[in-house]
């Protein structure tokens, strides 16, 4: 394609694809045939938080928080106040006067924490001059408190009053937190997971570290809640550990080395070196049964109950995968694309997989040739399924930081290129518009 534009006279088909995986322009399973580009940010957009069925907030390095309507794509309110980049954002739902209100808590590098009312755009609460910037936020709905994690762990109540905090931790600080049963909190600090306990005595809350779990060899990038009994952590060198939420024991340990022991000698060693860097677990998401992990530029689907790999694709994107979601298996990457995947059963798992066989199977058009390398490496695992690309969304010109799904209303992506894009199902939108037309006709009594 590129070469053709540059003036080459070759037919298009002969042009090589540099992409690891290329799905043609024909994508029948891709329903996102409408997009809306939202402009408003001046810097990288990193966070998307859903407020309700209709609204979401976006925030990023420009310190702005924008509230959008997902149906119309209108920017409803700009929340201005932070002077530096926003490091964490979470929605906070509380009951006031019998009604549920949703507010937004944002943390910024300017060492402030703010509570915003997304309806009025007011900065309801603000705390400045924190000792350290907050890196993560967690709302404990049952206790009606929320936690901020930076160099120390602070517990706040609804009125932004500091309830208690821990002593200063290492410089690395808390990068992620998950809620565990019985008022326990797991926090990832560099290579360790620290279990904290919130003690409630009357109206006072105290926090204390219960245990340090130091089983990871490298920095923990991702810490997620799987279900009531389990949580998972992933580290920079591809260690995936499933923990028991109650007694904090290791339930499963996977060290994901994309490379099998060297088979082809020289060339594989080279690859080994490269891949060492690229097997960091950037992000994980779970639906309680499966985990999908973004590992380097690949994807890894793990069944927690069976404690086995379901499917994986070593090179799912051209560069690191940043965010994944399991419900409708999707991943986004630094290469600026969002890809949609489908788990497909291998037809005959007993039969040893040959590259020729895989060339024929379950791929679309020209992309079949490129699916070769990962297919070769199918290990002899029973029940292994394949992860097939069913569509990709190309629009951003920078890394896609995150996406947020509004189910049938669409998918919102945010990116380094300062843009947000709402991807919509064109067919569905068309029907909605038809309905709106007939509604308006009825209102104007033109029917």
């Amino acid at each position: 394609m590129l070469r053709w534009i540059l003036g080459g006279r070759e037919a298009q088909g002969t042009v090589e694809k540099s992409a690891a995986l290329f799905i043609g322009e024909e994508q029948p399973k891709n329903c996102f045939t409408e997009m809306q580009v939202l402009k408003g940010h001046f810097d990288i957009v990193r966070f998307l938080v859903q407020i309700d069925d209709l609204r979401f907030a976006s925030a990023g390095d420009d310190g702005l928080v924008l509230i959008w309507n997902v149906e119309t794509g209108d920017c409803l309110i700009e929340l201005r106040g932070h002077t530096q980049q926003i490091t964490a954002m979470i929605s906070y739902t509380f009951i006031r006067g019998g009604n549920a209100h949703t507010a937004l808590i944002t943390a910024s590098s300017d060492r402030t924490l703010s509570l915003w009312d997304p309806d009025s755009g007011n900065r309801v609460q603000n705390i400045s001059d924190l000792q350290s910037p907050v890196k993560c936020l967690l709302v404990l709905v049952c206790l009606d408190v929320w936690l901020s994690g930076g160099n120390e762990l602070c517990v706040w109540n609804r009125d932004f009053e500091l309830q208690c905090k821990t002593v200063h931790h290492s410089d690395a600080g808390i990068s992620a937190m998950v809620e565990l049963p019985k008022n326990f909190i797991a926090a990832a600090m560099d290579k360790e997971i620290v279990i904290f306990k919130l003690n409630l005595s009357g109206s006072d809350i105290a926090v204390m570290a219960m245990r340090h779990l130091a089983d990871h060899q490298d920095t923990i990038h991702s810490l997620i809640h799987i279900n009531d009994g389990l949580f998972a952590s992933g580290s920079h060198i591809g260690e995936l550990i499933i923990w028991d939420s109650v007694d904090w024991t290791i339930q499963a340990y996977e060290h994901i080395l994309w490379e099998e022991p060297a088979r082809d000698g020289q060339s594989e060693f080279k690859l080994n070196h490269q891949k060492q860097i690229e097997r960091s677990i950037q992000h994980m998401s779970s639906d309680g049964e499966y985990i999908v992990a973004a590992i380097g530029s690949g994807l890894y689907v793990y069944n927690v109950l069976m404690k086995s790999v379901v499917a994986y694709r070593r090179i799912a994107h051209d560069s690191n995968v940043l965010h994944t979601v399991l419900q409708r298996l999707m991943s986004c990457s630094e290469d600026g694309s969002v890809r949609m995947w489908e788990l497909q059963d291998l037809p005959l798992p007993a039969e040893p997989a040959s590259s020729g066989f895989f060339g024929m199977f379950g791929t679309f058009g020209r992309s079949s040739k490129q699916t070769g390398p990962p297919a070769k490496k199918i290990p002899e695992v029973p029940g292994l399924r394949s992860l097939e690309l069913i569509g990709d969304l190309i629009g951003h010109s920078g890394a896609v930081q995150m996406f947020l799904s509004f189910k049938e209303k669409g998918l919102v992506t945010c990116s380094t290129d300062h843009l947000l894009i709402i991807w919509k199902d064109g067919e569905f939108q068309s029907q909605l518009r038809s309905l709106a037309v007939f509604q308006k006709l009825e209102e104007n009594q033109e029917l």
Binding site: M1, E25, Q36, G73, G336, I394, Q431, A436
Partner: protein, 862 residues
């Protein structure tokens, strides 16, 4: 292009007699009165003896010093009037003076009284001169003039009587607007003048007062000087009262009338000066108004130094009368000129053409939902304006002074107007001698005398028509139509009433009337400066000699010019039809057709050779796209279709909403291609906003949302490579036409629809014809899209869990319409646009979403 000129040709006279009403037939208001021709009469001969080449507007004044005199013509070009005697005609039109607006001392009143009179609107004909005129009289106030009034008139002069008659209502509303501009400017200026005069008087009074006191002191109370001074003072006092009263009158100009002037005010509101006028006009209490005027003017015109007024005024002939521009505020005057220019432009061309375009507009007006897609923007939004027009033309009658016409022409007219007004003396005016200047004075009184008998002022005609409602006029119109076969000249009542239902002409400055075939009668007389080299090329052409249809009497050079006049030759094949329909008896239809096509071919051949110079892109920002530009683009388009075998695919991309990028090194080539394709872009926008003819910077994703046709520079610079990068990245959303290697990369199209639209073997030779052809096809497509959009059952789910069936019903519907899968995409895209437009209104603002498909593209080569 609903009402393209060929519609006219196919209208049959028999249709009128039908009692059976065909549900498919056009509503009555859209029908075109047929040309009332006697057998074998050449329709173009009758205007040939006019001494001017085309219609123009004449503004004249009845000067109290020199009598009737022409002030200006629009267009301001001596060639237009030719040998036509403006002075004589001014005399004629001004002599149809009306007496409604005098200012004087009415009985029982001490002070002069201003009458705010309606303008009078009269039709006047002069068969000798071959001139017919719509004459619009108005008076402006001037403090220095006799009786404070200056009579003016504006006349639309045409050689075609029927045009004046049939367009009376439109002319009247247009001229009323111009007149309102003048009069409101004049009221303002008059008020200012009065204020100044009042100040002078006050000053004079104070001076006189002092002098009187002085005289009394020196000479005693009863000295002659003292009495003289006291008398003088009393005179000044009286004068002050009178002027104050005048000021009161002018500032309490009835607010009812002000509503009519609404549009005038709207346009001039920004001028700070008008605020005074507005304030005062709005006020019902003239006293308060008086004060506001005075106070405001005090603060504003503090620089004005009052002057002493001498007791005896200068002699009438010594003083210089104010010019029209001085009489009205300069701003208002220029507004008026602008308005008159617009009027002149909008009434250019033959009556048939005007009809057609009126019908065209009326039909378009009914299609507000879809007209944004492919029709030229005509500002349907400002509905208010057109309403205003209707209000302002508050005289629904056609007072007519037919000096030359037979009484027969008044036959149906008399059914609703008292015949008393039309004196037989009218006909005596038929042949006034070719008047030299010396004759004028002698004749003036006589002429005025006879004409006042025959003409009637608007006041009278209002009386006469007092009880005539538009509906009764309408009925009368149909009566008239039935009688039509007998009446050789269309009766005025017809023309008056036939437009009751037709929307008023929009005076959009941007709307340049297209030059269609019908203009031929009019344009045949335009003597254009010939292009020497082209004329030479063509002079020996036999075709020219065989083209005698409209120009039998003309000189051959003129014919050549006419044929070469690109814009005038709009739709040759249809023209051929029209001629045969009109029974010219000269050529059969086929011959005419062939001839004209041959001619057009030769012109298109010539224009091909020079096209590189003429390939001016129509996209100059801030100027609206006109129909003319689109027609010109038709030529480029035709060449594109002949040259590129993949033209259909390119057009398919545009119609289905896929952005087409035209990539090339040479700006001219790229622009030419953009020019060839732009009118296929749905929802082009008034200024062609959805087209970017030349872009030399990398484009963004949002640009794909905005632009549907992009001309892109291929450059070797780093910027160029980033452009290529973005092209590559977004390749799935765009089609790329490479003008250098002549390739097109786009999804496949294998239908028949676009092959009709863009057949490279097409027999159409002329660009504008092709454009009309395309417009016709697109209108058809739009109609289908409309049907698809608003068909209830295919969009609404039968029940909640019914989404799937909606999709299948839609697909089936489109298949039933006869569209393939690919063509369905076009209809669906248009439908989406219609929906969005309908939901959001015409603004189409906000954040548009951008639809696309995931389909494989192929590379097409030449």
């Amino acid at each position: 292009m609903i009402g393209s000129p060929d519609v006219v040709a196919f209208t049959k006279e028999d249709d009128f007699g039908d009692s059976f009403s065909d549900p498919c037939s056009l509503p009555e208001e859209f029908s075109v009165p047929l040309f009332a021709h006697a057998a074998n009469a050449n329709p173009w001969t009758k205007t040939s003896y006019a001494k001017f080449s085309k219609d123009f507007i004449l503004v004249s004044e009845f000067s109290e010093q020199v009598g009737p005199q022409p002030l200006l013509t629009i267009p301001n070009d001596p060639k237009v009037c030719g040998t036509f005697d403006l002075n004589y005609f001014s005399l004629r039109i001004m002599s149809v003076d009306y007496q409604a607006s005098f200012v004087g001392h009415p009985p029982g009143s001490n002070y002069p009284k201003l009458n705010f009179v309606e303008d009078s609107k009269v039709v006047l004909g002069d068969s000798k001169e071959g001139a017919f005129a719509y004459v619009h009289h108005l008076t402006l106030y001037d403090l220095e003039a006799r009786g404070f009034v200056r009579p003016f008139c504006m006349a639309y002069i045409s050689a075609d009587e029927r045009k004046i008659m049939h367009q009376f209502q439109e002319l009247s509303s247009e001229f009323s607007k111009a007149s309102e501009f003048l009069k409101s400017g004049n009221r303002k200026a008059f008020a200012n003048e009065l204020e100044k005069k009042l100040k002078d008087l006050e000053y004079t009074r104070s001076v006189l007062h002092k002098e009187t006191e002085l005289q009394k002191k020196n000479n005693g109370c009863y000295s002659t000087q003292a009495i003289e001074k006291a008398n003088e003072l009393a005179n000044v006092e009286k004068s002050i009262y009178e002027h104050k009263d005048l000021l009161k009158q002018i500032t309490s100009y009835p607010s009812r009338k002000k509503k009519d002037v609404g549009f005038v005010q709207r346009e001039t509101e920004k001028l700070a000066d008008t605020s005074v006028l507005d304030d005062t006009l709005n006020s019902n209490h003239s006293d308060i108004a008086d004060k506001t005027v005075l106070t405001e003017s005090d603060s504003r015109k503090s620089s004005y130094t009052p002057q002493l007024i001498k007791a005896k005024s200068a002699k009438c002939f010594d003083k210089r009368l104010k010019t029209m521009e001085e009489l009205c505020d300069a701003n208002f005057f220029h507004q008026t000129l602008k308005q008159l220019n617009i009027t002149e432009k909008s009434f250019r061309g033959d009556l048939c053409f005007i009809y057609t375009s009126q019908i065209d507009r009326a039909l378009l007006g009914k299609q507000r939902v879809t007209s944004f897609l492919f029709e030229a923007e005509r500002e349907w939004e400002n509905e208010g304006t057109s309403k205003n027009f209707n209000i302002s033309s508050n005289n629904p009658t056609v007072p007519i002074l037919n000096l030359s016409g037979e009484l027969l022409s008044l036959e149906s007219y008399t059914t609703c107007i008292d015949i008393d007004h039309i004196k037989p003396g009218v006909e005596s005016m038929e042949g006034p001698p070719e008047s030299s200047l010396s004759d004028i004075t002698q004749e003036t009184s006589e002429a005025a005398d006879t004409e006042t008998k025959g003409s009637f002022s608007s006041d009278k005609s209002i009386e006469a028509f007092g009880g005539v409602s538009p509906s009764s006029l309408q009925a009368n119109y149909f009566d008239g139509l039935e009688r039509k076969s007998k009446v050789s000249i269309a009766s005025p009542s017809e023309s008056a009433s036939s437009y009751v239902a037709v929307p008023q002409r929009m005076t959009d400055g941007n709307l340049v009337p297209m030059d269609a075939a019908c203009c031929i009668g009019q344009d045949g007389f335009i003597f254009e400066e010939p292009l020497p080299e082209l004329a030479q090329e063509c002079c020996g052409d036999t075709v020219v000699n065989q083209e005698p249809l409209s120009l039998l009497q003309g000189d051959p050079a003129l014919q050549v010019d006419y044929i070469l006049e690109e814009s005038a030759l709009a739709e040759s094949p249809n023209m051929g039809l029209t001629f045969s329909e009109l029974n010219t008896g000269v050529l059969s239809e086929e011959v005419a057709k062939i001839n004209i096509e041959y001619v057009s071919d030769s012109t298109s051949f010539m224009s091909t050779s020079t096209s590189s110079d003429r390939a001016v892109s129509p996209f100059t920002y801030s100027s609206a796209l006109t129909l003319k530009q689109k027609k010109k683009a038709g030529h480029s388009s035709l060449r594109f279709i002949r040259q590129y075998p993949f033209a259909q695919q390119a057009i398919f991309c545009l119609l289905s909403g896929r952005t087409l990028v035209i990539l090339g090194v040479d700006e001219g080539t790229v622009r030419k291609l953009v020019n060839a394709l732009f009118f296929f872009v749905p929802n082009l926008g008034k200024y062609g906003e959805t087209v970017q003819p030349w872009l030399s910077s990398p484009f963004q994703l949002t640009d794909l949302q905005r632009w549907k046709l992009i001309g892109l520079q291929r450059a070797a610079s780093p910027a160029g490579s980033s452009i290529l990068h973005s092209l590559n990245r977004y390749s799935r959303y765009i089609s790329i036409l490479d003008s250098d290697s002549k390739t097109l990369r786009c999804p496949p199209y294998k239908g028949t629809l676009i092959s009709h639209l863009a057949d490279h073997r097409t027999q159409i030779k002329r660009g504008s014809t092709y454009f009309l052809h395309v417009q016709g096809m697109l209108t058809q497509l739009t109609a289908k899209a409309f049907l698809y959009t608003f068909c209830h059952h295919i969009h609404l789910p039968m029940d909640i869990n019914d989404q799937g069936s909606v999709t299948s019903r839609r697909t089936n519907f489109l298949l039933q319409l006869g569209y393939t899968v690919e063509e369905s995409k076009i209809v669906q895209y248009l439908s989406e646009l219609i929906k969005q437009h309908y939901i959001q209104g015409s603004s189409m603002g906000g954040n548009q979403s951008f639809c696309f498909n995931y389909t494989t593209s192929y590379l097409y080569k030449i």
